[in-house]
Subunit: 635 residues, 2 copies
C-alpha cells in the first residue's frame, strides 16, 4: 500500500486505533442484544492487536452507565486484561508530567511505565456523558478501570469556571504527539466557557511547530439548540486533528473544518443505542498513522456489529386504500411487505465474521395522519420474534407534523409556552430538551405555588439525568440531598419555629436571585457576536476528501505545510523553532531511558498558554495540503 508504512521507517510512525462510544453494558439485560457491546469491544481490541498499533484512543462513553453493573465492569476489565497485557514492548515514550496529566487518578502514572503492570498496548480515554463521574466523591467508571492500571484516564476536569488543558506529550522516533483531552462537560457550560475565552490549551514552547496536535472531546457537534452544542469554529486553529466523541453517526473520514485548518474525525459509536437514521451508517474504527505533521487515516469497518436497517414511511405518500372499514389492517399489510424488503436488505450487512450476531435490528418509522391508521406495534412485532432482534419496537408511529401547532399538557400556561416555542425557529429557544421545559415551568410559569425548599437547578439536573441516562434514582437523590442540606442548615441555626419558616423563605429568595443572575448570563450568551456568525447547522467542508463509495479499503493521507503561517503565540518572544533548530529544543533520548524525568520537568515548565479564541481569530495562515493516495497494495 502506498502509505506511511512503506514511505517512512516504522519506528518513526505513530499508529493509533481511534474509536468512541463503545457503550459497554447497553441493553445488557436484553436476552438477544445483551452481549453486543462486549462482542464489538472485543473486536476493537483484537483489531488493535492485529494492526499492532502503539496505542488506543477512545472518545468517551466506554460505558453506557455511570454506575455500570458488576458484570459490565468485570467484562471490561477482563477484556482489557486479555488483549492489552503481555510482553510486547510499547514503543512510545511518554514525555510530559504524568502527575499533572493524571492528577485526578489514584495512581497518576501512565500504565505502561508502571513496573507492576505488564502492559502491551495502552488505552487512553476521556470520559463521556454516559460514564461521567457521579455519586459520592464524583467517581466515574473510568476511575475504576484506571485504578486497576488498565486504562489511562485523562481529560477529567472539575473546575467549571475555566478550563485549562495540559496535553499528554509522547514521542515515537521523529514523531511527536501532543494529545489534548477534555472529558464531557455540559454543552451549555463548555460553550459559554469558549465564548468567554476561558478555555486554555497549554502548548510546549519549544519547537511548537513540530508537535502533531490532537484534541479529543465528547460533546454535541450537531446544532441541537442554542446552548446545546460546541461549534467547531470555536476550537483553536493550532490543532491538527479533532477526535469528536459523543455523536453516534460514523463520519470517520476526517473532514476539514471550513474555517480553520484542522480536520475532524468522528468515529461514531460501535453499537446502535437508538434506532435512528444516523446509527444505521456502517460502524467503523480508524487506524491513525502519524509521521511528524503528516497523518493518514485508514477506516476499518467493524464486522461484529449487528445488522441494522432504518427506513421511514409516510402514509400520506403511500398507495393505501384508507376508505375501508379498518384502514389499519391495510396499513399493516403494506408495512408487512415493506418490512420484508428491509429484512432482506439487512442481510447485506452480514460480514461473515462468526462472532457477528445475525438477527437484524429493523426500524420503520411510520408517519400517520389519523389515529385509525395505527395498530398495536408491540403485538404486531410478535410475528417477527424469530427473525428480528427488536420485535417489540420495529414499527414506530409518528404523527405527521402539522406546522405551527404546539400541544401541552397539565398545568403549564399554554399561551406563554406556545409563544416561546415559536419565538426562534421550529424548536423555539427551549430547544427540545426536557431540562429546559422543567426549568421554564418552575421558574417562569408556576412561580407562585411551587418549590419552597428544592432548587430548580437541582430538579433540572435530575430531569436531565433521568432522560439521558435512565437514572431512575436521580430525582430521589436530589430531593434527599436538598432536604438534608436544608435541615442541617436549619439545625445549625438554632431557630424557633417561626424563624424556620422565615429562614426557608430567605434561602428561596437567595436561590432565585442566583438563578436570575444566571438567566441574565444566558441571555448575554445568546446575544454573543460569535454566535451570530454561526450559520445554523455546521456543514463540515469535506470537499477536499474523496469520500468515495467503498471506504473499506481506502487510506486517507494528509500532510501539513506550515511555512509562513501567521498563527499567534500567546506568550513569550521565542522564535518558533523550525525543524532545524533542534539545539534549543527538547531532545529526549530514545527508548524508555532514565533521563526522562529531567525531560518531563523541562517540558512541563515551559508550557506557554494558548488561549482558544476560536472564531475571533482571522484565518490568515497558509493552507494545509491534503493528499489522497490510491490504494494499490494488498495491506
Amino acid at each position: 500500500m502506498s502509505n506511511m508504512a512503506s514511505e517512512y521507517p516504522p519506528e518513526d510512525v505513530l499508529n493509533i486505533l481511534i474509536a468512541s462510544d463503545i457503550h459497554l453494558g447497553y441493553a445488557e439485560k436484553d436476552s438477544i442484544r445483551g452481549g453486543d457491546t462486549y462482542t464489538t469491544f472485543e473486536e476493537i481490541l483484537r483489531l488493535a492487536q492485529e494492526q499492532n498499533v502503539d496505542l488506543i484512543l477512545l472518545g468517551g462513553d466506554l460505558f453506557h452507565d455511570s454506575k455500570p453493573t458488576p458484570r459490565c465492569i468485570r467484562d471490561c476489565i477482563s477484556l482489557i486484561r486479555q488483549y492489552c497485557m503481555g510482553d510486547r514492548p510499547v514503543a512510545v515514550e511518554f514525555l510530559s508530567d504524568q502527575a499533572r496529566n493524571f492528577r485526578h487518578c489514584t495512581h497518576p502514572v501512565v500504565n505502561y511505565e508502571d513496573p507492576n503492570f505488564n502492559i502491551s498496548m495502552p488505552i487512553f480515554s476521556i470520559h463521556g456523558n454516559h460514564d461521567d463521574p457521579s455519586g459520592y466523591q464524583q467517581i466515574s467508571s473510568l476511575d475504576l478501570i484506571s485504578t486497576s492500571g488498565l486504562i489511562n484516564y485523562f481529560g477529567k476536569w472539575t473546575d467549571l469556571t475555566q478550563v485549562e488543558i495540559s496535553p499528554l506529550l509522547m514521542r515515537k522516533g521523529v514523531t511527536r504527539l501532543a494529545l489534548y483531552g477534555l472529558s464531557h462537560l455540559k454543552d451549555e457550560r463548555l460553550a459559554r466557557l469558549f465564548m468567554d475565552y476561558k478555555v486554555k490549551m497549554l502548548r510546549p514552547r519549544e519547537e511548537q511547530e513540530d508537535w502533531f496536535n490532537i484534541f479529543v472531546l465528547h460533546q454535541n457537534r450537531a446544532d441541537r439548540g442554542p446552548k446545546t452544542f460546541i461549534a467547531e469554529d470555536m476550537l483553536p486553529d493550532f490543532l491538527d486533528l479533532v477526535v469528536w466523541g459523543h455523536e453516534h453517526e460514523c463520519r470517520i473520514i476526517p473532514e476539514q473544518n471550513g474555517r480553520h485548518h484542522f480536520f475532524v474525525c468522528q468515529p461514531g459509536s460501535s453499537v446502535a443505542t437508538s434506532l435512528c437514521e444516523g446509527e444505521a451508517v456502517m460502524k467503523h474504527v480508524a487506524i491513525l498513522s502519524i509521521h511528524k505533521r503528516k497523518f493518514q487515516v485508514k477506516p476499518i469497518p467493524l464486522k461484529t456489529v449487528r445488522p441494522f436497517v432504518f427506513d421511514s414511511l409516510v402514509l400520506a405518500d403511500c398507495t393505501i386504500d384508507f376508505t375501508t372499514e379498518k384502514p389499519s389492517e391495510e396499513v399493516q399489510k403494506y408495512v408487512n411487505e415493506h418490512l420484508e424488503t428491509l429484512i432482506q436488505r439487512s442481510a447485506e450487512q452480514i460480514s461473515g465474521d462468526t462472532r457477528q450476531p445475525q438477527k437484524p435490528l429493523i426500524r420503520l418509522r411510520v408517519e400517520y395522519m389519523e389515529e385509525k391508521q395505527m395498530f398495536n406495534a408491540v403485538r404486531f412485532g410478535l410475528q417477527y420474534t424469530d427473525r428480528v432482534a427488536n420485535p417489540s419496537d420495529i414499527v414506530l408511529f409518528r404523527k405527521q407534523r402539522v406546522t405551527g401547532k404546539v400541544t401541552t399538557e397539565g398545568n403549564i400556561d399554554k399561551e406563554a409556552l406556545e409563544a416561546l416555542f415559536n419565538m426562534e425557529g421550529r424548536q423555539g429557544i427551549l430547544g427540545n430538551r426536557v431540562e429546559m421545559i422543567v426549568e421554564h415551568y418552575f421558574a417562569e410559569v408556576a412561580t407562585d405555588k411551587h418549590l419552597q425548599i428544592l432548587s430548580i437547578k437541582g430538579l433540572v439536573e435530575a430531569a436531565s439525568r433521568f432522560v439521558d441516562k435512565d437514572d431512575r434514582d436521580a430525582l430521589a437523590c436530589v430531593i434527599d440531598h436538598q432536604v438534608n442540606k436544608t435541615v442541617s442548615h436549619l439545625l445549625s441555626r438554632n431557630l424557633t419555629e417561626d424563624e424556620i419558616a422565615e429562614e426557608i423563605e430567605r434561602l428561596r429568595q437567595e436561590r432565585l436571585t442566583k438563578a436570575e443572575e444566571e438567566a441574565i448570563d444566558t441571555r448575554k450568551m445568546l446575544a454573543h457576536p460569535s454566535r451570530q456568525n454561526l450559520s445554523g447547522k455546521l456543514k463540515p467542508n469535506s470537499s477536499v476528501i474523496d469520500s468515495d463509495s467503498d471506504v473499506d479499503n481506502e487510506v486517507y493521507l494528509y500532510g501539513t505545510t506550515r511555512g509562513g503561517r501567521g498563527r499567534g503565540q500567546a506568550t513569550g518572544t521565542r522564535a518558533r523553532g523550525g525543524r532545524g533548530s533542534r539545539s534549543r529544543g527538547v531532545t529526549p533520548s530514545r527508548g524508555r531511558g532514565r533521563s526522562k524525568a529531567a525531560v518531563q520537568t523541562r517540558i512541563s515548565d515551559v508550557f506557554s498558554q494558548q488561549q482558544a479564541k476560536g472564531s475571533s481569530r482571522a484565518s490568515s495562515s497558509g493552507k494545509r495540503t491534503v493528499v489522497t493516495f490510491d490504494d494499490d497494495s494488498d495491506d
Copy 2:
C-alpha cells in the same frame, strides 16, 4: 520471642495474616464515619506488609454491599495496588490445579504467578453474605477485584444440591497447607447439606497426614434458630483450624472444638456495623504461623478502629424517682450522667495512632417499663454532636420483656402464631427471622386471599435481602422478575383470556406443591438425629487456652500429635504416609520451578474424597497437644 520464628528456619514457616468482615463501604455516606472501613483496611494491609507475611486470608464480607459504590471499588483496588504490589518475591509455591481452584474466575490463575502482575503479597478470600454474587450473571464484588488480578477469589460454589471443596494446596519449605474455602451459602441450605452428607472435602491421597488443613467459611456460628447456623460439630475432624467469618465478635484466640480436634479462630469484623455488645469487643487480626502441623496464632489489636462503648441500663433497677410529673426528665438526667462515664471509658480505647478516628461510638440500651419514661432519643442526642460519632442513636429504648406475651399486628391469625411462638422455647420454631414470618404468613395463615402470581419463596428471599442488606430494591426486583416470567410464560402459550386465568391458577398450584415438598423436607430436617444431639447454643470449649486478660502481646502456639488416630479414609487402601514415607509422595521442587505443572496434575488426580460426616463420627482419635508459651520478647 519464644515462638516459631526463633525455633524453625524462616523458610519453613508459613505466615498468614487472618482477618474477616472488613465491610468496605459500610456507612460510607456518613460524614463522620464514612472513612472508617477504608482506614482500617489500610491498617490491615500495612500490618501484613510490616509483619512480612506470606499471604493474607480473608473470611468474607470484604465489601459491605453486593453492589459496592464506585468509590468503594476504587478505594479497595487502590489500597491493594498500593500495598500488595511490588518486587518482594512471594515464597509460597502454589501446587494445586489453578484452573480448578479458580474455575469461576475470568482468569483462573493465582495472581502472583501471572507474569502480567507484579504481586508482592497475595490476598486469598472467599465471599460473605454481604458481598455475595448478585444480579445478572451472579457476579460478586470479589469477581471485579479478582478480574483485576488483585485478589485470589476462591470457594465460590453454585450447585445447591451438593458441595465439593477442592483445597488450594501450597507449600513453603517443609510446610504444606491445604486451604479449604466455602463462600457463604444460606445457613439453612448448608446445614441441610451437611446433615445429608452432601458436603465433600477432597484431600490429597499422598502424605495426607503432612498437610495442615484450614477451612475458611462464612456462616452463622451462634445458634440463631434451628436452621440458621452451622454447628461446629458438623465439620470434619481432619481439619486443623477453622477460620470462621461472618460473626462480628472478635474471638480470635483459637478455641478447640469440644468434640473434634480442630480449633476455631473467629477474627470478628474490623469495624462495628451494629452497635451491640459483641461488636464492642476489641478488634483484632491475627498472624498465623505454621510449621508442618504445628501452628501459632499471634493476635494483633487494630489501632485505627473507632472507640466504641456499649452498655445497658434497666430502669427498673435504677434509683430514679418515677413519681414526678415528668418521669422522662428524671430518666434523661440519669442517662446524661451515665453517658458521661461511658464517654470517659471510651477514651481508654484511644490507641495513639494518628489515623484512628477519635470521636467514639456510644450505645446505651435503656430498658423501660412504661412509655412515659421515654424521651425523644434523636433530639436528646443532639447535645452530643460534638463529642460522639453517632449522636442520633446513642440511646436505644427497649421495652422490658414481659415473658409469655406475644404481640402481633395486622391480619396475622394471632392464636396460631402465638402457639407457634411458644412451641419450642422463647423464639419458637420461627426463630426471630423475618423471612420465617413472611413465609408463615403467606403459606399457612393467609392462604385464601393472597398471591396469585408471586411465589412465597421469592418474597421471603426479598424480605431477607431487605432486612439483612438494606437492599431496598429487592422487593421490586422480585416482583418485576416474577411478573415478567409469568407474562412471557403466558405469551409463549398462546392462550385465550379464560385459559390465562386457568394457567395462572395451575402455576400457583404447582408452586404450592413444590413448597409443600420443601416443608416436609424441613420437618424431616428438624427431626434429624444429629440435631437432637446439639445442646442448644454451642459453648466452645476454650479451657485449654489461657485466654488471659491482656492478649495484645501474647502468642498462642499449638501442635499436633497424630500418632494412632483412628480417622477413617473415605476411599483407597493406601497406607497413610508418615513423614518418613516421602518416596511415594509429592516432592515438588523448591522455588517457582518449571516442574510445577506436572506436580499439579499429579495432585489433583489423586484426590480422595473425604466426606464431611461431622456429628455422626465417633471421636476416637488421639488428643492434640496444645502448648502455650509465654511471651518473653519485645516483638
